[in-house]
């Protein structure tokens, strides 16, 4: 048990928890009537993590496997637009429409994987092109440059309904997604293969793992979760939006990196990712609660990222030096 505690104290998660607690204490202390920790505000914070979470989980797995996917936000917008168009102009049941839209996400992911694995494009370029140009443009074409209202009760309920009148369905969905993927990543053969491919693609291949197959699955998965993010986004607004989840990708990746995923691949986990998401959402929310000017909010976000990375560096150096020192003194 003490061994476990020791391990935790040295882990990346610990410094994230410290940062999270410090941040919460700060905003709690300085918010009016300590409203930062009010139930309503906590719900606001969690609500704002929903879209980021879905993108960070799908994109995060791709990052752990050593690639990057910049497209899922755009794919989400496209999927949302298709959903709005189909619900408005066809009589298809909503569930069928949702499945079709998730399939669109999968298709975009497969196209990404094809460009990367068969045409050997870099994932950064391929997914940027597919995302911002193709999927983004596709969304415009589908909704014909307009915002389409969604008149479907089931979708509206998923987007805005709350369990017991308090916990939004969207939070339940995104939390379930990150927990399920966290377990898959940590406990299954598939999850291990994600790490092994990211750690050393060629070594993985030479031991019978197929990095190519993994790449297809992970990009398809990222596309599907991107589509899910887009559907939830539009369900909340009850409208197929033109830019939808486009701009959610970079904050999601930032949160994942803050949570310990290295862009080189092979590292990180979903717990860290979740903490990173909480920190970023909690921080942005805190700035609003304190009434900080929106112009300064970007600057503050940048400073937070710097602070987090510095803290990580210091704790790593601290434990390294401390251990070596302890050893020398102890022997």
């Amino acid at each position: 048990m003490t061994k476990r505690i020791n391990k935790f104290l040295r882990s990346k998660h610990f410094s994230l928890v410290v940062l999270l607690v410090m941040m919460i204490a700060f905003f709690w202390a300085f918010s009016k009537n300590h409203s930062y920790l009010g139930l309503n505000n906590i719900r606001n914070i969690l609500n704002s993590t929903v879209i980021y979470t879905l993108l960070a989980v799908g994109g995060g797995l791709v990052i752990i496997a050593g690639e990057i996917d910049l497209s899922p936000g755009y794919v989400g917008t496209a999927a949302g637009a298709v959903m709005a168009a189909l619900l408005n102009s066809t009589g298809l049941p909503w569930l069928v429409v949702v499945v079709m839209c998730l399939a669109i996400g999968v298709v975009f992911g497969l196209i990404n994987a094809f460009l990367i694995n068969e045409l050997k494009l870099q994932s950064f370029i391929a997914t940027l092109a597919i995302g911002s140009f193709i999927a983004g443009g596709f969304a415009y074409i589908v909704v014909d440059g307009k915002t389409l209202e969604i008149k479907n009760d089931a979708i509206a309920l998923i987007g805005t309904g709350r369990i017991g009148g308090f916990v939004p369905y969207t939070i339940i969905i995104s939390t379930a997604v990150i927990v399920i993927y966290g377990v898959i990543l940590a406990k299954t053969k598939f999850g291990r293969c994600v790490y092994l491919c990211g750690g050393n693609r060629e070594a993985a291949r030479l031991t019978g793992i197929s990095p190519r197959l993994m790449s297809y699955i992970l990009f398809a998965n990222s596309g599907m979760l991107g589509a899910l993010a887009g559907l939830l986004y539009d369900a909340r607004l009850k409208a197929g939006n033109l830019t939808g989840t486009n701009h959610y990708v970079f904050p999601a990746i930032t949160a994942a990196v803050l949570g310990g995923l290295s862009l080189g691949g092979g590292n990180g986990d979903m717990l860290g990712c979740f903490l990173g998401l909480l920190i970023i959402s909690g921080f942005n929310n805190g700035l609003v609660v304190l009434g900080v000017s929106p112009f300064w909010q970007n600057v503050a976000s940048g400073l937070l990222l710097l602070l987090a990375l510095t803290l990580d560096y210091l704790t790593k150096r601290g434990t390294k030096g401390g251990r070596a020192h302890g050893k020398a003194a102890g022997v």
Binding site: K189, R192, Y195, G199, E202, A203, L206, G208, A324, K327
Partner: protein, 506 residues
Amino acid sequence: MEKLLEFNNISKAYPGVQALDDVGFSVKGGRVAALMGENGAGKSTLLKILSGDIRPDAGGISIDGKAQSFESPHRSLQASISVIYQERQLVNDMSVMENIFFEDLPVSGPGFVNRSELRRGTQEILDVFGLPIKPADIVGRLSVAHQQMVEIMKAYRRDSDIIAFDEPTAPLTDKEIDILFRLIAKLKERGKIILYVSHRMAEVFRISDEIIVLKDGRLVNSFETARTDEAELVRAMIGRDIGDTYANLNRSDNIGDVLLSVKDLVAKGVHGVSFELRRGEVLGFAGLIGAGRTETMRAIFGADPIISGEITLEGKKVRFRSPKDAIANGVALCPEDRKEQGLVLGRSIRDNISMPVLSKVKKGPFLDVRAEESLAGEAVRTYKIKTPSSEKQAGELSGGNQQKIILGRWTSGKMDTKVLILDEPTKGIDVGTKAEVYQMVCDFAGLGIGVIFISSELTEVINVSDNIIVMRDGRITGRVARREATEERVLALAMSDYQESMERMV
């Protein structure tokens, strides 16, 4: 005045290891001191202290009697020290000249790089070395050997008083080794102090004036090169007499029926290779670097595409489309480059060992960590992998122990390996571990596995294998049984022209 470099009672501890323990010696200007010792003996740590990469816990370095304190690599450079590591520190996308003059680009006017001056300076250095490369060549497109030479030229350009080489010849061919040794001789004449880390006995005897032997972080002894021999050094390095490694190998000479047969294999770099491997046989593949041995094996293993040819495993025709396919049929490959192709350095020993058998260590949908742990524990015990636990990262182990992880991976209780292909399994590992690897190879054969043993070290390939195949330029130029094999004969085949050897074989 004659230069003097002194290491004064240096100690350095890492968690769990005393990397250096009170190491002290000195080297005078105009002398080449070779540092030898098993992997993990502390040679690299010593060089890192010299270069200011890490700081010792106790003791220090002094130059010409003055104590130095290197807070950073920069300070070490200022003290006129250059350390050339095994891992090249080059900017691959830039030209040779930019890499060589990186720290001190010639500038003209308001800070523009003076390219003609840069080119001229680089050409001067290239002329000294006599290499067929141009100043404007992009480093990333050079051969590995030439890249290593650029690294050396970088140090040469600094004109440092103290130059340390960490296994510089590993990626070099004989031609560049000659150039390097002539250069070292020249530097010696000019009164420089040279430190030279190497595992290669022949080189050390050729180039050094004195040999300093480290073991487990302690200085064992220093020898005048002219007054010692290989046996004495090996004794000092491993702390005992290994005797005649090869004669003492415990072999099973129980060679069975044909297991793998390859006929007219053609692939990239392979031009019609045919051979047979029997159960329990150790089949050596000798040849010079680039003879097509690695390419042959990768094609058989399904790692690279086959153009034509026929492969038969246990009487059945096979053609593996991927390594996965090969592994499922009992063929395993330990690649030449452990770090690039063999191990996932950032993962634990356990994770590296279970890689090919993940499907067999499952409990329901989840991985069974206990089963993995017992596989890894077994490998650590069987092969005496030096580590406190199997959770240690593979990247933190020495080369010999890393090689044992890879061998353990293919011979674990969950594997059913029939053909084991070892590509340069002893590259960069120390004498003691080498002897262990030879015994492992014989043990695998004893279990009825057909072992293919690729090695560029003539002595070992001749003495460990039952039969030796010699390759050159993608073709087999000869087959020799161990009894009839001599280094001269195998070398002649390795360097012979194909035409000639065909005539001789007829």
